[in-house]
């Protein structure tokens, strides 16, 4: 049995409010194996992004970890100093954000922004790093990488910018890539290309992926295992196929039924989409049950 790369144990987050506190994450536990693609689905406010920010050590006040551990390669990230965390971030754990325009520095060329990764984390000279940056752009299939390296973010389309983000994130061959809604801002055809790129590059390098999305189709396409988050709880977790074919939790069932499926109208006629609020008027009961399927034994 291999040790998990990322092991989040009983993580709880809260915003202090006077003497009490408002819970944001409640007892979330999951593991990501080396090289595995793990998906977190859920609606806005369910806590999926906050989970990833906690892993990156980017939680802002007033959010506070009230309980739990985030073990990355056996080390508890919550106990690391800011300096140690900064060394790890970008090098061993990297992140791709949703909106590449706001995540990139508008005042630096993309070549320089990628080169910075090599200078900061690998101690390369700027000249060397600039060459590596062009290679990195080529690896994410940006056409004319040497010319594109001199571009500023505003000179690029959304799809290209997201490729630059991927090049930056994968520059130091991280062990874990966190992708928070990486394609939500993109057109469908561009989305398909960007997803394929992430999948292929990560498979090639053995990088594990934590993919956060509200789009069940994207999750199904990318991930081996999926966790469903609702209201700060991980309510269901299973292998992707099992979760889609055989959802156990009422919320997961509702979520899957709320989605218009391609081809279903042709086969079954137009049926009403499931309205979660009408099946479960009191949503607070949803967090009382959890279905976490055990991981299958790794075939020897």
């Amino acid at each position: 049995m291999t040790a998990p790369l990322l092991d989040i144990r009983n993580l709880s987050l809260a915003v202090p409010q006077g003497r009490s506190s408002f819970p944001i994450l409640k007892d979330v536990s999951f593991q990501i194996m080396p090289g595995e693609a793990y998906g977190l689905v859920g609606e806005s406010g369910s806590g999926k992004s906050v989970t990833s920010l906690a892993t990156m050590g980017l939680l802002k006040k007033p959010l506070k970890v009230t309980e739990g551990q985030i073990l990355f390669q056996g080390r508890d990230l919550l106990k690391l100093s800011r300096r140690e965390m900064r060394k790890l971030r970008g090098d061993r754990i990297a992140m791709i954000f949703q909106e590449p325009m706001t995540a990139l520095n508008p005042l630096a060329t993309v070549g320089r922004q990628i080169a910075e990764m090599y200078v900061l984390h690998q101690g390369k000279s700027w000249a060397e790093a600039a060459k590596l940056a062009i290679d990195a752009l080529a690896s994410v299939r940006v056409p004319n990488p040497d010319r594109r390296a001199t571009n500023y973010p505003h000179q690029m389309s959304g799809g290209l910018r997201q490729r630059v983000m991927i090049a930056m994130a994968l520059a130091c061959n991280p062990d874990l890539l966190i992708a928070d809604e990486p394609t939500t801002a993109l057109d469908v055809t561009v989305q398909a290309e960007v997803l394929r790129l992430i999948r292929e590059l990560c498979a090639e390098r053995g990088t594990a992926v934590l993919l956060i999305s509200h789009d069940l189709g994207v999750i199904a396409e990318m991930c081996q295992r999926v966790g469903v988050m609702y209201s700060g709880c991980l309510v269901e977790e299973n292998e992707t196929r099992e979760l889609f074919l055989n959802p156990q939790h009422t919320y997961t069932k509702g979520l899957l039924g709320a989605l218009p499926r391609l081809g279903s109208r042709f086969q079954h006629g137009r049926s009403r989409l499931v309205d979660i609020d009408s099946i479960i008027p009191d949503r607070s009961i949803l967090t009382q049950t959890r279905f976490i399927a055990p991981r299958p034994e790794v075939a020897q």
Binding site: E43, S44, D187, V188, T189, V190, Q191, A192, L195, H214, D215, L216, G217, V218, I219, A220, E221, T240, R241, F244, L245, G254, L255, L256, G257, A258, L259, P260, R261, L262, G263, S264, R265, F266, Q267, R270, R272, L273, V274, D275, I276, D277
Partner: protein, 320 residues
């Protein structure tokens, strides 16, 4: 056969762009919409599908009278709806309304919902207080909100509720055409389902004709009666939803359908209509563009026309 409620004929919308030459010598024209013809029948939902920048929103703005067409005509119930003979703003408002994509940006934060709904009524001559109250309360009820909630400000509502308010505002004057500009793409999955259900119910209830703009093809398949696929200012394929989704022909349309991440297809429970080979164009025709490269929008495209391949199913082809 009744006449269509909205007819768009050979619509062109061009924008001047500077080509970077000295003294304006490099001035070029961007063909945002290039010879688009469409019709919308009473009570149906027609979806315009395509990538950002393909001209679908420009088309919608032209229908709403917010963008003057360069040439071509838009007719509403046979009467001109664009150009010099177009009706005034007031008549237009009673004929067509729009629901915007972002319910956070499209409501006035300083106006209560009630005020946003009462203003158009007063402008259109409904001044009796009891009638205004009545119509607003009924409208709020049809979109699933209570009359009491109308007294609140937009920031007190969730995204889904705001989109309900946006819909109520569009419907308060009883328009016949509602343009839906990405009505659910800013919403969460479960809220999306509620709004889609609501839009379909309202369409039935009021006999509305929808012109929907969307890039989410699974929503389009669920809601539409007919679909028009746009690629760089032109319609490349149009037809009843069954034809578009079971027998897509144009390479771009097929690529669009092939790239939707659909859980059922990925898990092998169903097949996509695009799994097979790309069908050949009918004899004597070729595809004018493959949909793989973006054409130069400042140049006139090669001549091509929409050819009927099945009843009411048209594909853009060029003669060999």
């Amino acid at each position: 056969m009744t006449a269509p409620i909205l007819e768009i004929d050979d619509l062109h919308v061009h924008f001047p762009v500077t080509g970077g030459g000295l003294l304006g010598t490099g001035r070029k024209t961007l063909h945002a919409v290039n010879g688009l013809s469409l019709h919308l029948n009473k009570g149906e939902c027609l979806s315009l599908v395509g990538e950002s920048g393909c001209g679908k929103s420009t088309t919608a703005l032209a229908v709403m009278g917010l963008q003057e067409p360069t040439s071509g005509s838009i007719r509403f119930r046979g009467q001109p709806f664009s150009g010099p003979e177009a009706p005034g703003r007031m008549d237009r408002a009673r004929a067509a309304q729009i629901v915007f994509q972002d319910p956070y940006a499209s409501l006035n934060p300083r106006q209560t919902v009630w005020a946003s709904l009462a203003a158009p009524l007063r402008l259109h001559g409904v001044t009796a207080k009891s009638e205004v109250e009545d119509r607003i309360a009924t409208m709020l009820k049809s979109v699933g909100l209570s009359a009491e909630q109308g007294r609140r400000f937009p920031h007190e509502f969730s995204g889904g509720q705001r989109q309900r308010i946006g819909i109520a505002r569009a419907l308060i004057l009883g328009p016949e055409i509602v343009v839906l500009d990405e009505p659910v793409s800013a919403l969460d999955v479960s809220i999306r389902a509620q709004i889609i259900n609501l839009l379909l119910d309202l369409q039935d209830q009021f006999g509305l004709s929808y012109l929907m703009i969307s890039h989410d093809l699974s929503v389009v398949e669920h809601m539409s009666d007919r679909v028009a696929v746009m690629f760089f200012g032109e319609i490349v394929e149009t037809g009843p939803w069954q034809s578009i989704f079971t027998n897509p022909i144009h390479p771009y349309c097929r690529r669009l359908i092939a790239t939707i991440p659909d859980p059922d297809v990925i898990l092998g429970r169903s097949r996509k209509p695009t799994d097979g080979e790309q069908p050949d164009p009918p004899a004597g025709w070729r595809f004018a563009d493959t949909g793989l490269e973006s054409p130069d929008l400042t140049k006139k495209p090669d001549p091509s026309e929409l050819v009927e391949v099945e009843p009411d199913h048209f594909v853009r082809l060029a003669r060999i």
